[in-house]
C-alpha cells in the first residue's frame, strides 16, 4: 500500500486548474503536467513520466508506477477558523475535482473518495485550513474521523491534527492517518520553539497509544534534529516516538521545502533548490511490514518526457524554470511517500 502526503500551500479551487497557476507552455511541453491538477494526478498515480522516482537501490523496493491508495493534502483551503466546524470553500471544490481526476486516470482497482457527509463532516483544523484525505475504496473502508486534542484535552494550535481511521479490506486491520500542519519557525532567540513544542504536544495525544497501524504525516516545520534550549533543558520534538513504538525512517535533515529560485552558485543539488527538512512521516507498524519512506523529488527527478520512449535530462535552464515556477504556482513543499507491505491473511 502506498500513501502520499503533500503540502500544496493554500490550495483552493482556483489554484487547481487556472491558466495563471499552470506551468508555462515551455515546461508543459516536458509532459510532466501543465495545470497543478494534472501534475498532482501524474505524481499520485505513478504516471510513467515519474518511472525514475524510486531510488536506484533495489533493496528499497519502492514502486514508482503504482497509484497511491491514500493521498493526504496539507494546507487545503477552507473558509472559517473554528476548529471542528465543517470545512467549506476551496476544499469543497478541490476534493471532488482531485477525486474525479484520479478516478479518470486509474483503472478499476482504484475507486477514490473522500469523506464529508453530515454524519462525518470534514472538519476545519485551524484558520482557513483543513486536511484533505483521499482514499481508495477498493482497498480501504472508512471508519471514523475527527480532529484530535492533546493529553490534557486541548487542541494543538494553531492547526490541530486531523485523524481518520480506516479498515484495510483485505485484512480487517485498522489503519490510521493523522495529517497535520505545525506552526512555522519563528524568530530568535528560539526560532524552533513553536514547531518543537507542537511536536512534543503531539506526543501526548491519546490516539497515539492505540494499537493501530498509524501514520502521522504532514508539515512539521522541523525534523528529528530540531531543538531549542530553555532553562538548561534541551527540547526536541520527537523524543516520545520510541515510547509509543513509532519510527521515522526518512534520514535526518532530508530536505523537502522548495526555494523560490534555483541558485547553482550556493550549494550542490538538492540544496540549491531545497532548503529545509520540514515534511515527514512518523509511523507505527503493528501489522504492516517493510515500511519505506521517500521524498518524491519532482524537481530533481524531472525529465524531458516529450518523447516518452526517449527521456532526457532537463537543461540547466529548464531546471531553473522548473524550480521558479513550481514554487510560484504549485507549492513550497515536495511530496513525501510511504509504502509498506500488508501481510497476506
Amino acid at each position: 500500500m502506498k500513501i502520499i502526503c503533500w503540502n500544496l500551500r493554500n490550495l483552493g479551487g482556483g489554484k487547481l486548474a487556472r491558466p495563471k497557476n499552470s506551468l508555462s507552455p515551455s515546461l508543459a511541453a516536458l509532459n510532466l503536467g501543465c495545470t497543478l491538477l494534472e501534475y498532482i494526478v501524474k505524481v499520485v498515480t505513478g504516471d510513467p513520466v515519474w518511472s525514475n522516482m524510486t531510488d536506484n537501490d533495489p533493496d528499497t523496493s519502492l514502486t514508482s508506477n503504482v497509484p497511491a491508495d491514500i493521498f493526504v493534502i496539507i494546507e487545503l483551503k477552507s473558509g472559517g477558523k473554528a476548529k471542528g466546524r465543517r470545512a467549506n470553500g476551496g476544499s469543497m471544490v478541490v476534493l471532488p475535482a482531485v477525486v474525479n481526476a484520479l478516478n479518470a486516470a486509474t483503472d478499476n482497482n482504484y475507486d477514490y473518495a473522500f469523506m464529508n457527509t453530515d454524519e462525518n463532516p470534514l472538519p476545519i483544523t485551524g484558520y482557513n485550513e483543513c486536511v484533505g484525505v483521499i482514499y481508495n475504496q477498493q482497498r480501504l473502508t472508512y471508519n471514523y474521523s475527527k480532529i484530535i486534542r492533546d493529553g490534557m484535552g486541548n487542541y494543538l494550535n494553531p492547526k490541530t491534527p486531523y485523524y481518520i481511521r480506516f479498515t484495510v479490506n483485505a485484512t480487517q486491520e485498522y489503519l490510521t492517518i493523522i495529517g497535520l500542519h505545525a506552526p512555522p519557525v519563528g524568530k530568535n532567540p528560539y526560532p524552533n520553539k513553536r514547531p518543537v513544542d507542537y511536536g512534543i504536544q503531539l506526543g501526548t495525544c491519546r490516539e497515539l497509544t492505540l494499537n493501530d497501524d498509524t501514520f502521522i504525516m504532514g508539515d512539521f516545520n522541523c525534523d528529528q534534529t530540531s531543538t531549542y534550549t530553555c532553562n538548561n533543558e534541551n527540547r526536541s520534538p520527537f523524543d516520545w516516538i520510541d515510547d509509543e513504538y513509532f519510527e521515522i525512517n526518512l534520514p535526518e535533515q532530508t530536505l523537502t521545502s522548495v526555494k523560490t529560485m534555483l541558485n547553482n552558485n550556493i550549494q550542490p543539488p538538492p540544496a540549491n533548490y531545497l532548503s529545509q527538512p520540514f515534511d515527514n512521516i512518523i509511523f507505527k507498524a503493528v501489522s504492516v511490514e517493510n515500511v519505506r519512506t521517500q521524498v518524491l523529488d519532482t524537481i530533481g527527478k524531472a525529465r524531458n518526457m516529450s518523447d516518452p520512449n526517449n527521456p532526457t535530462d532537463l537543461t540547466v535552464t529548464q531546471q531553473s524554470l522548473m524550480v521558479a515556477q513550481y514554487f510560484k504556482k504549485f507549492s513550497d513543499h515536495l511530496p513525501v511517500q510511504i509504502e509498506f507491505d500488508i501481510p497476506a491473511v
Binding site: 487556472r18 508555462s24 507552455p25 508543459a28 495545470t35 472559517g80 466546524r85 516529450s306 531553473s320
Partner: protein, 410 residues
C-alpha cells in the same frame, strides 16, 4: 528547433528560447510590408509534440495563423492567432468534443502571446527588480501564453462568455475557465451544462428555491464558468468532463447609498459526474456574497477595489435527501486593522463621535450556523469576535487582543 521568429529575434531577446515559440515549426510564413504583421501556417508534426494533441482535436496537420511581432522600446510582443479561415473547423471540432457546448460556441481560436524584454533570459534565475526605492530578488520569468480561447453564447439575452484554457500538450487536462462582468443570465439558462440530463423534467439549477431572491424580471449575471476534463492523448477527440463550476450573481449591488455594497451576491453551483448517465449527477450549490464598505474618501464603485471592511458570507442549501442541512457562515476580516471609529465614519457621512477609543478595532468576526430541515431546528451555532485590547477596563493590561466565542451544538 529554430523558426523564423527565433532566428530573427532570439539574439536580442534570448528569453524567446524559453518560450513556446521555441518549439513551433512554421510550414510557411509571409510578412506584410510593415514587417510587423504576418500570415502563415504552423506545422503540427514538426512542432516537437506541442501541437500534436490540439492538431488531433481539430483534425488538422497544418494550422493557418496570422499574427504580429511588435517592438515597443525594449519590449518584444509576439501575438499569434489561428486564422479566421480555421474558425469553423475549430468550432465544429470543439462542439463535437465537448457536447455540452453543441451549438453554443461562437468562436474558438488558438492564441499565443509572448512578451520578452531586450536581453532578458527568462530562465528562472534570480534577478533584482527595482520598484521606486524598493528592490527585491525575483526569478526571471517571461509572459508566455499558449491557449485555446473560446466564446460561448449563453442565455436568452445572447450574452457572450469568453473562456480560455491552456492548450493540452501530450493529452492532459482541458480546463476552460472565465470570469465575467455584465453577462446577464437566468439560472435555468444553465441547464445545458447537464447535457442530455438537462431536460424539462430535471431542474438542476433550482430556480424555485431562489424565488425570494429573484423577482419575476430579475436576472443574474454569469460571474464565472469553469469546466475541467481529461484529454486522452491516444484519442484527444474523447474528453471526460469531470467537473463544472458556475457562479452566477449580482455585482455592485447598492445596500447603503454609495458606501456599502454587495459585491458580489452570487450562487455557486458545482456539478460532478455530469455526463455519466449511470450515475445521478451531484449538484452542490449555495449562495456566496461579500458586503464591502468603502472608505469615506472613495465612495462609489471605484472604492470597491480597496474597501475598508469586507464581510464574506456563504449559504449552503440543502440537497435532499442526502444533505438535509441548511448552513450559513460569515466572516469579517480587517487585515489593515482599521478602527471601529473608521467603520462608523465610512457608514455615516456626517462627523460623529460616540466616544469610542480610537484604538478599538474588530480584528475579525465570524458566524457559522447550521439548521436541519428534517427537524426544523438549529443544530449548531458558532460566533466569535476578536478585538483589540488596550481600552476601557483592559487599558492597563498588556494584551494584544481579546476574543470571545460562543459555540452551541445539538
Amino acid at each position: 528547433m529554430a523558426n523564423w521568429i527565433i532566428n530573427e529575434y532570439a539574439g536580442d531577446y534570448p528569453g524567446l528560447n524559453n518560450s513556446i515559440l521555441y518549439f513551433l515549426a512554421f510550414s510557411s510564413h509571409e510578412l506584410d510590408g510593415d514587417g510587423i504583421n504576418f500570415t502563415g501556417s504552423l506545422d503540427v508534426t514538426g512542432s516537437n509534440g506541442v501541437l500534436t494533441t490540439l492538431g488531433a482535436m481539430v483534425g488538422l496537420n497544418d494550422i493557418a495563423v496570422s499574427g504580429s511581432v511588435n517592438i515597443d522600446s525594449t519590449t518584444l510582443t509576439v501575438n499569434i492567432r489561428s486564422a479566421d479561415s480555421e474558425d469553423s473547423i475549430f468550432i465544429r471540432a470543439f462542439e463535437a468534443i465537448i457536447q455540452l457546448f453543441d451549438s453554443k460556441i461562437t468562436a474558438a481560436k488558438l492564441a499565443i502571446n509572448t512578451i520578452v524584454e531586450a536581453g532578458q533570459a527568462g530562465d528562472g534565475q534570480p534577478i533584482t527588480v527595482t520598484n521606486g526605492d524598493d528592490s527585491e530578488t525575483e526569478p526571471d520569468l517571461i509572459t508566455d501564453e499558449f491557449d485555446i480561447q473560446m466564446s460561448l453564447s449563453i442565455g436568452t439575452s445572447g450574452g457572450q462568455a469568453d473562456i480560455v484554457s491552456q492548450v493540452p500538450i501530450h493529452g492532459g487536462m482541458l480546463n476552460l475557465t472565465g470570469d465575467f462582468t455584465d453577462l446577464d443570465i437566468g439560472l435555468d439558462d444553465l441547464n445545458f451544462l447537464m447535457g442530455a440530463l438537462g431536460d424539462e423534467d430535471h431542474a438542476w439549477f433550482p430556480n424555485d428555491q431562489l424565488e425570494a431572491y429573484t423577482p419575476n424580471t430579475a436576472q443574474f449575471c454569469l460571474l464565472n464558468l469553469s469546466l475541467s476534463g481529461f484529454v486522452n492523448a491516444a484519442d484527444p477527440t474523447n474528453i471526460d468532463i469531470s467537473t463544472i463550476s458556475v457562479t452566477v450573481g449580482l455585482t455592485q449591488l447598492v445596500l447603503l447609498s454609495d458606501r456599502l455594497y454587495m459585491d458580489p451576491l452570487g450562487v455557486v453551483i458545482t456539478l460532478t459526474d455530469t455526463t455519466d448517465n449511470a450515475i445521478t449527477p451531484t449538484v452542490v450549490w449555495g449562495l456566496v456574497g461579500s458586503a464591502k464598505l468603502c472608505n469615506y474618501n472613495t465612495p462609489g464603485v471605484d472604492g470597491l477595489d480597496s474597501p475598508d471592511f469586507e464581510f464574506d458570507f456563504s449559504m449552503d442549501f440543502p440537497n435532499l435527501p442526502d444533505f438535509p442541512t441548511f448552513a450559513f457562515s460569515g466572516n469579517l476580516e480587517n487585515p489593515s486593522g482599521n478602527s471601529v471609529n473608521l467603520m462608523l465614519k465610512d457608514l455615516i457621512p456626517e462627523d460623529i463621535d460616540i466616544g469610542l477609543d480610537e484604538k478599538l478595532t474588530v480584528n475579525s468576526f465570524e458566524i457559522d450556523t447550521e439548521a436541519d430541515m428534517d427537524t426544523g431546528t438549529i443544530s449548531s451555532f458558532y460566533t466569535s469576535i476578536d478585538m483589540s485590547a488596550g481600552f476601557g477596563l483592559l487599558v492597563n493590561f498588556d494584551l494584544e487582543s481579546v476574543s470571545i466565542s460562543v459555540d452551541y451544538s445539538a
